[in-house]
C-alpha cells in the first residue's frame, strides 16, 4: 500500500515560501539479521529559513536518525534514501544526499552544522578547546586568525570567558560550559543551519533554560536556522516557532507552536501533552501513554499509532493516514483529525 493512497490535497504538495531545507520521502534503513529495520519512514518536511523548528519524539522514534540524516551522517550500515534539498541564501540549491565525500566535508559544518546528544563526550579529552577550534578552521581552509576572533565573540555571546575556556581541557569544564563551548564550535564556520540533537539532555533544569534563551539570541544575531530535536515537549515550546511530532519513525503532526499547544490534532500529540509532568497541575491528572511504540522491523500497516489510539477503528489498522492540512500552518496525519479535539480532552496545559 502506498503512503500516497488517497491523494487529497495534502500538505506536502504545498511548497512553502522560503524553505532552506526540504526533505522528501526521507527514509533510513538498517539491514540486520532479522530483517530490515526502518528507523525513519518517508518523512516530508520543509524547514523555513531563520526559523527554529522543534522535532519532538520519545526515545526510539527516529528523531536522532533524522538529525543525522540532515547532514547525511547516518552511521554505517544505515542507508538514507529520499531527497534533502538545501537552498543557500545565494547560489544554487544542493542535493544533500547526492554529494561526493569532498563536497559533503564542505557542506557539513560550513553550511549545516550539528550539536550532538553526547555533548559531554564530543571533545577529544587530550586536546585543549583551542585545538578543537583551530583544527576545524584549518581542516576547512578558513583563516585561523579571523576564525579565532569569531570564536572569542561566540564564546562571549554564550557567556563564557574565551581565554579560560580555550586554554582548558574538556574535563576541566562543567557540563553546561562544555555544552555552550560545543555550540560555539558548531558555529565557528558560520553555518546557515544548526541541527541540535538533545542538546540539553544531560543538563540540569536551570542550565537548560539558560541555554534555550541563549539559542534565541544567537538565532537573531547570526541569522540561523535551527532544528532542535528533543523528547522534551514543554522545553521546546519555549523556543521553537514550529514543532513537528515524530511517532514511530513518521511525522504525526507539524504545526506552529501556538496552534499545536492550543489545539493539537493528532491523538498522540494530545497524549504527549497529557503525559507531561507539570509542577502546577496535580499528579492525578498526569496520564501516562499506555502501550509501547512499534518495533522498527515490524511496523504495522495503517496508522503507526493505531494500537495505542483510543479512536482507532479497523480503517486505522488498514489504511495509513496521509498528511492533511488542518490549517495554513498545521498538518496532521490522522483519519479523524477533525474529531480529535472533541474526543480527547487536554488535561494539562503547557504554556510557552
Amino acid at each position: 500500500m502506498s503512503r500516497h493512497a488517497d491523494a487529497a490535497p495534502t500538505a506536502k504538495t504545498q511548497t512553502r515560501s522560503d524553505a532552506i531545507l526540504t526533505c522528501r520521502d526521507l527514509s533510513v534503513e538498517f539491514t540486520m539479521d532479522r530483517g530490515t529495520s526502518t528507523v525513519l519512514n518517508g518523512l516530508d518536511i520543509d524547514i523555513e529559513r531563520n526559523e527554529i523548528i522543534g522535532i519532538v519524539g520519545e526515545s526510539g522514534s527516529g528523531k536522532s536518525m533524522f538529525a543525522s540524516a540532515l547532514l547525511d551522517a547516518v552511521v554505517e550500515p544505515g542507508v538514507t534514501t529520499g531527497t534533502i534539498t538545501y537552498r543557500p541564501a545565494e547560489g544554487r540549491e544542493i542535493d544533500v544526499l547526492d554529494r561526493s565525500d569532498d563536497q559533503l566535508q564542505q557542506l557539513r559544518w560550513e553550511d549545516i552544522s550539528m550539536v550532538f546528544q553526547g555533548a559531554l563526550s564530543s571533545f577529544n579529552p587530550t586536546l585543549k578547546l583551542r585545538g578543537h577550534f583551530v583544527e576545524t578552521l584549518e581542516a576547512h581552509g578558513y583563516d585561523v586568525e579571523s576564525g579565532m576572533e569569531r570564536t572569542h565573540e561566540l564564546l562571549s555571546d554564550l557567556y563564557l570567558d574565551p581565554g579560560r575556556v580555550l586554554g582548558s581541557y574538556p574535563h576541566e569544564l562543567s557540563g553546561g560550559m562544555k555544552q555552550r563551548a560545543l555550540i560555539a564550535l558548531s558555529l565557528v564556520l558560520e553555518p546557515d543551519v544548526l541541527v541540535m540533537d538533545e542538546p540539553t539532555a544531560a543538563l540540569d533544569l536551570l542550565m537548560q533554560r539558560s541555554i534555550i534563551s541563549l539559542l534565541s539570541a544567537l538565532r537573531e544575531k547570526y541569522d540561523l536556522t535551527m532544528v532542535f530535536i528533543t523528547h522534551d515537549l514543554p522545553l521546546v515550546t519555549k523556543l521553537a516557532d514550529r514543532i513537528g511530532v515524530l511517532y514511530a519513525f513518521e511525522l504525526a503532526e507539524v504545526s506552529g507552536t501556538e496552534e499545536l499547544l492550543r489545539s493539537p490534532r493528532h491523538p498522540y500529540t494530545r497524549a504527549l501533552l497529557n503525559s507531561t509532568p507539570d509542577i502546577e497541575s496535580p499528579l492525578a491528572e498526569m496520564q501516562p501513554i499506555e502501550g509501547s511504540a512499534p518495533d522498527p522491523v515490524d511496523v504495522p500497516p495503517g496508522c503507526p499509532y493505531h494500537e495505542r489510539c483510543p479512536l482507532a477503528t479497523a480503517d486505522c489498522a488498514a489504511v495509513k493516514p496521509a498528511m492533511e492540512a488542518a490549517s495554513e500552518t498545521h498538518d496532521v496525519a490522522c483519519h479523524y483529525w477533525e474529531r480529535v479535539p472533541d474526543e480527547i480532552d487536554l488535561t494539562t496545559e503547557v504554556s510557552r
Binding site: 564542505q106 557539513r108 559544518w109 550532538f116 553526547g118 571533545f123 577529544n124 581542516a139 576547512h140 581541557y169
Partner: protein, 342 residues
C-alpha cells in the same frame, strides 16, 4: 594535589623498608644459616682468629652482627642497606653492590631495548588491528598475539637458541660479547665502540627477541582494545563530521587517546623487566642481574641473591613511583584526580 605526591612518596618509602625487612628475615631463615656456615668456614680455615675477629668478618660479609640481639641486627642491616651496603659476596669476596653495578647495565641494555621494541611493535600492530576490526588481518593477528603472549619467554629463548643458535649457527648462544672483543665505549674511539656495541647487540639479540616476541603480543592486544574503544567514542564521530583529515584523527585522536593509558603500564613494565630477566638470562648464560640471582642461589651465596632481589624491587618501586608522579603531566585527563581513590 600536594597530598597526593606526599602519599605516593610515603608509600614508596614504606614499600622499600618493608621489602628490606622481608629480606632481613628471609636471610636469617635461609637453609644452612649463612652466618653460621661462614663462621664455621672461617674457624676451620683460620684457627688463629679471635672470636671478635671472626664476628667482625662475618658482619662485614653478611651485613649481620651474629651475636647481637635481633632488633640491633635488624637496624644494623637496614641502615647498611640504606647506605648502599648490600653485604659482601661469599664466593666472590667482593661487595655485592660491585657485582650488581657491573651486571646491571647489561640487563638494562637488553631489557630496555626489548621492552621498547615490543612496545613499538605492539602499539603499531594493535592500532592497525583496531582499525581493521573483524577483518582476516585482525583475527589472524589477534590469535597470533594471544599465542605469543601465552608462551613463557624463556621457552621462546630455548627454541631460538636451539634453532637459530645451535642448528643454524646464526647467533651466539650465550655471553655478553665475543671473547676476542675488547670492551670499548668512548667518543675518542668511535670505530671500536661501534664494533663493540654491534657485537654486544649480536650476542643479546636472541635474548631480546625472546622477550620481544612474547611482550609484543601483550602490547598489541592492549593497544587494540584501547583503540577500538576510542574508535567508538562520540568525539571521533564529531571529529569526522567536522571534516578533520583521517591522518589527524589517527594520530591526535585515536593514537593519543589509546596510547596514553599505556604509559603507566610501560613504566611499570620497565620496573618489572629486571625481575623478568631471572630465567631468561640463565637460559642464555647472559651475566646480568637475573643471572647472578640464580648463581647466588645455587652457590648459597645469599647476600648476592638478596642484593639482586632488593635491586629488582627498588626498580619496580621506582617505576610505579615515576608513573604515579608523571601520569598527570602526560595525560590531562588525570589532572583533576588526586589521591582520592582510597
Amino acid at each position: 594535589m600536594q597530598q597526593y605526591y606526599l602519599e605516593r612518596t610515603l608509600q614508596a618509602v614504606i614499600t622499600v623498608v618493608s621489602v628490606m625487612t622481608l629480606a632481613f628475615f628471609l636471610l636469617r631463615l635461609m637453609p644452612g644459616n649463612p652466618a653460621d656456615a661462614y663462621r664455621a668456614e672461617l674457624i676451620q680455615n683460620n684457627p688463629q682468629l679471635s672470636q671478635a675477629d671472626i664476628d667482625h668478618r662475618v658482619e662485614q660479609k653478611l651485613n649481620v652482627l651474629p651475636d647481637a640481639p635481633l632488633h640491633e641486627q635488624y637496624i644494623n642491616y637496614v641502615a647498611g642497606l640504606l647506605q648502599g651496603d648490600l653485604g659482601e659476596s661469599i664466593n666472590e669476596g667482593v661487595p655485592v653492590s660491585e657485582i650488581i653495578s657491573e651486571a646491571l647495565p647489561w640487563t638494562i641494555f637488553t631489557m630496555s631495548l626489548a621492552l621498547l621494541l615490543s612496545f613499538a611493535i605492539g602499539i603499531s600492530f594493535g592500532a592497525i588491528m583496531a582499525y581493521k576490526e573483524g577483518s582476516y588481518f585482525d583475527n589472524g593477528l589477534s590469535v597470533l598475539s594471544i599465542f605469543c603472549n601465552s608462551i613463557p619467554n624463556y621457552i621462546v629463548g630455548i627454541l631460538s637458541i636451539w634453532f637459530l643458535g645451535y642448528q643454524l649457527e646464526l647467533f651466539p648462544t650465550g655471553g655478553r660479547y665475543s671473547t676476542e672483543m675488547e670492551p670499548t665505549v668512548g667518543l675518542l674511539e668511535p670505530i671500536q665502540t661501534l664494533a663493540f656495541l654491534g657485537d654486544a647487540l649480536w650476542h643479546a639479540s636472541l635474548l631480546i627477541l625472546s622477550y620481544t616476541v612474547v611482550a609484543a603480543g601483550g602490547w598489541a592486544l592492549r593497544m587494540r582494545g584501547n583503540s577500538i574503544q576510542v574508535l567508538g567514542e562520540e568525539y571521533l564521530r564529531v571529529a569526522r563530521l567536522r571534516g578533520l583529515s583521517e591522518r589527524r584523527i589517527a594520530t591526535r585522536y585515536v593514537g593519543r587517546n589509546a596510547v596514553l593509558p599505556l604509559y603507566t603500564a610501560l613504566l611499570i613494565a620497565i620496573g618489572f623487566a629486571l625481575g623478568g630477566s631471572v630465567i631468561l638470562e640463565q637460559v642464555f648464560t647472559y651475566p646480568g642481574v637475573g643471572y647472578y640471582m640464580i648463581e647466588g642461589l645455587e652457590a648459597r651465596d645469599y647476600p648476592l641473591m638478596m642484593g639482586v632481589f632488593l635491586v629488582m624491587t627498588v626498580a619496580v618501586v621506582l617505576g610505579v613511583y615515576i608513573a604515579d608522579l608523571t601520569y598527570g603531566l602526560i595525560d590531562p585527563r588525570a589532572q583533576t584526580r588526586g589521591g582520592d581513590h582510597r
